[in-house]
Amino acid sequence: MAGDDVSHDPAGRDAVEGYLAAVAARLTGPAAVRAAIADELRDGLLEALAAEWARGCSHQQAARAAIEEFGDPRTVAAAFAPELGAVQARRAALGLLVTGPLVGLAWIAAVAVNALPPWRHELTGPWLALPLVGLALVVAGPALGLTVATTGRLGGRLGRRATFPPAAAAVAGLAAVAADLTLLAIVTGQALTSPAPQVWGPLVLAAAASLTRGALAGRAARRCLAARAALR
């Protein structure tokens, strides 16, 4: 294609980069995906620039025409928003699906090793709050399932309700945060009451897992809500 000569037009390149920066500033979503979008748009813009030259435009006219041809940066960014929202939601959901069982196993091990009340089928003291964790899982499970389903191939074909996947993923993320905070509060309560746990290692490990996952889930939920807001 005629794109070979574009490197000899610094002004054209600057105009292209300025346009890309204007689009990128309005995109939400994973950085790698946004960078890939910028690369793809850059290639198209430089092709458009070369095509305008081939029609006999001056460098200045070519840059203006190529950018006009691509459309207003706000329009372009808005057109990408549903896909970026889906990508953000899917990543968050898959992350929660992977970390959920790991965090759960860490807590089960910690409870089992110390023969804490739930292990004896008792809910006493701070463990009375444990049903809240179950409630969070009841909320997160369907939200995760729906997020994965609507951001896969089926979702791509349906192409509607773009706000749903990031909203569902945000709900799942917030439910995970609630579960983690509840577990951390319970274990703190347990540590302050007697009898105190005997084997601290697994409890510390489980608490660290919940702290880490809770922070990541909170960040993912925040990003999903931002992606959803970009769709309005």
């Binding site: 294609m1 794109g3 070979d4 574009v6 490197s7 689009v23 890939a36 979008i37 690369d39 793809e40 748009l41 850059r42 290639d43 198209g44 430089l46 092709e47 458009a48 095509a51 041809e69 691509f70 459309g71 207003d72 940066p73 329009t75 372009v76 057109a79 990408f80 549903p82 896909e83 889906a86 951001t151 896969g152 191939r153 979702g155 791509g156 074909r157 192409g159």
Partner: protein, 112 residues
């Protein structure tokens, strides 16, 4: 022609531009414009998100290459995409035949 007119048909038209083989985003947009005699001249930047959606739906597959020192993403139809294009063509032919039969004929006689 305004982009809204294409609503509901854009996916099939994009798939059709890939029937002959892989193309990159700008070439797809140009094929759409040229193939429609200049009638379908969408803002180029809005074609790319539609391609991403079709890729997520498994109807097209994108691959990166390096051309003139820059990264380029080209798209090709997947087997599902070929089937979807074939289905779209059949249903469009049925639909357009029915519309032609109604709009292309003489005015209907008045009924009482």
């Amino acid at each position: 022609m305004r982009a809204e007119v294409l609503k509901g048909h854009l996916d099939a038209l994009l798939l059709a531009t890939l029937a002959a083989g892989p193309r990159h985003g700008y070439a797809i947009k140009e094929a759409l414009r040229a193939g429609s005699g200049g009638r379908f001249d969408l803002p180029t930047g809005t074609v790319y998100p539609a391609l991403h959606r079709l890729e997520r739906a498994g109807l097209i597959r994108g691959t990166w290459s390096t051309v003139n020192g820059r990264r380029r993403r080209s798209y090709e139809l997947t087997p599902s995409g070929r089937r979807a294009l074939s289905d779209e063509r059949s249903s469009w032919q049925e639909f357009s035949a029915a519309v032609n039969a109604l709009l292309g004929s003489a005015p209907w006689p008045a009924t009482t």
